[in-house]
Structures are given as structure tokens and as C-alpha cells.
Symmetry: C2
DNA sequence: GCATTATACCTCGTGTTATGATGTATTTCA
DNA sequence: TGAAATACATCATAACACGAGGTATAATGC
């Protein structure tokens, strides 16, 4: 996937990865991998950003003797997903603009 | 439209704006405005980038006593549009990932 | 005649962001 | 015993959109 195109989707995908159930870094990466592969450094940057924006909250819990940080989506985070959905029509119209019949060669 | 989301679409849109007919800066901005508004500084940055990547060629012509720089799409530019089209299915699957039923609240 | 707007181009500095490289520490499995 | 998986984190870098600013001519309004 094109890096630039990824940019607009990454944040929302991370939120989507925790919206049904609280999750943690390593699992988020595995869940997103089939859709958008991302590195750990990228994910933790995004998680920090989303936390600063109050789109998620963090809670540390022990699991098999290892610490995990569980991320929980907030109302603002859910709104972020809704905003993305609302932009979808704009994206579709852009897709049509890009793919519409080319008179020069068509 | 979300700035980050714009990033992946701007370049392809500029190429789409010149694919049927050679065009020039001012007109490209007006043509794109209904889909993605962009500033002149952004456009000229992108045009330079696309020229460096051999995705378009430039030709200067006089029009009503004013100089215009006409941009012409190349094969590489057309391929860039094709690549975008080919990524569309990935974007759709991401959209579904983001919008799929939320068991926590749904 | 004069001011404003539209047309048409360009550069520079800045802030945001994705990512590779790197580091720490534990558990599991060969 | 040593490699891989799990799980977290930071830093430097490069790409990029954009506001602010600059130059110049044509058209329009008063």
C-alpha cells in the first residue's frame, strides 16, 4: 500500500482495532496486518498521539508475568471513526474523478 | 477533508486533472476544487515532484499575453493512476474493517 | 483615472508524521 | 543454550501540505 495513502487510514484503523474490545500493542499489529501492516514504532507513535487527543485511555495489566498496556476507545475516538465514515462519500467522488473515462485514450 | 487522508489522494488527483487534456496550474486548482481544494503552494510542490518522477512533462505557451505552463501526463503518470485503481480493493477492505459491526455497542 | 479582483506563476519555513534503527526484558521452544 | 516470540519504548530522519510572502498582467467596477 502506498505510504501516503496509508497516512489517512492508519489512525482510524488503530481505533477500529480497539473499538469492539480493549486491545494492546502487539495484538493490534497482528489484527491490522491483513489490512495495513505497520511497524511497532509507527503504532506506538500513533497510540501516543491518540492518547494525547483523548481518543483512547490506557490501563496497565499483568498477563502471564508480563505487563500489557490495554487501550480503550473513548467517545472522541468513536467520533473520529464516525467522521471517517462521513468522509467516505467524498473519497468515493474523488475515486470517480480519478477513474472517469479518459477521452484522450478511451 | 482530513489532511492525512488528502495526502494519498492529492498526487493522483493532479494526474487525473491532466489525463484527458493538458492543463495548467490555475485551471488544475479550479478543476480539483469540488473534489479536493488545494492551495497554490501545495499544487506547485506536487507538480515539481511529479515532473522529477517523470510522471508529467511541461511546456510553456503564451495565452492572451500571459505565459502558461501546460502539463502533459506521461506513461509513468498513467501507470500511477492504474496503481491507484489497483489499490482500491485494499482501501475497500480497510473501510470494511473500520466500519464493521461493533459488538461492544452494536 | 484608480482600485480591486482574477489570472498565473514561484519560494521558503514550519509542523506533522511514518519508519528504520536501536534498546530493554520476559517466556517459550528446539 | 540460543533463537524466536511476546511486549514495551525512544530517537533521528525524510517526506510532505500549507501558510505567508513575492512578482506580474488583464479585467472589472466605481
Amino acid at each position: 500500500m502506498d505510504i501516503q495513502l496509508k497516512r489517512g487510514l492508519l489512525e482510524v484503523c488503530v481505533l477500529a482495532a480497539i473499538k469492539s474490545e480493549d486491545s494492546y500493542g502487539y495484538k493490534i499489529i497482528k489484527d491490522m496486518k491483513p489490512y495495513i501492516p505497520l511497524s511497532e514504532s509507527t503504532l506506538y507513535t500513533i497510540l501516543k498521539r491518540l492518547e494525547s487527543a483523548n481518543m483512547l485511555t490506557v490501563r496497565t495489566a499483568e498477563h502471564d508475568g508480563r505487563l500489557r498496556k490495554y487501550y480503550h476507545i473513548t467517545g472522541a475516538g468513536q467520533k473520529r471513526i464516525e467522521d471517517f465514515k462521513n468522509q467516505w462519500n467524498e473519497i468515493l467522488s474523488i475515486y470517480q474523478f480519478v477513474t472517469k473515462e479518459d477521452e484522450r485514450n478511451g
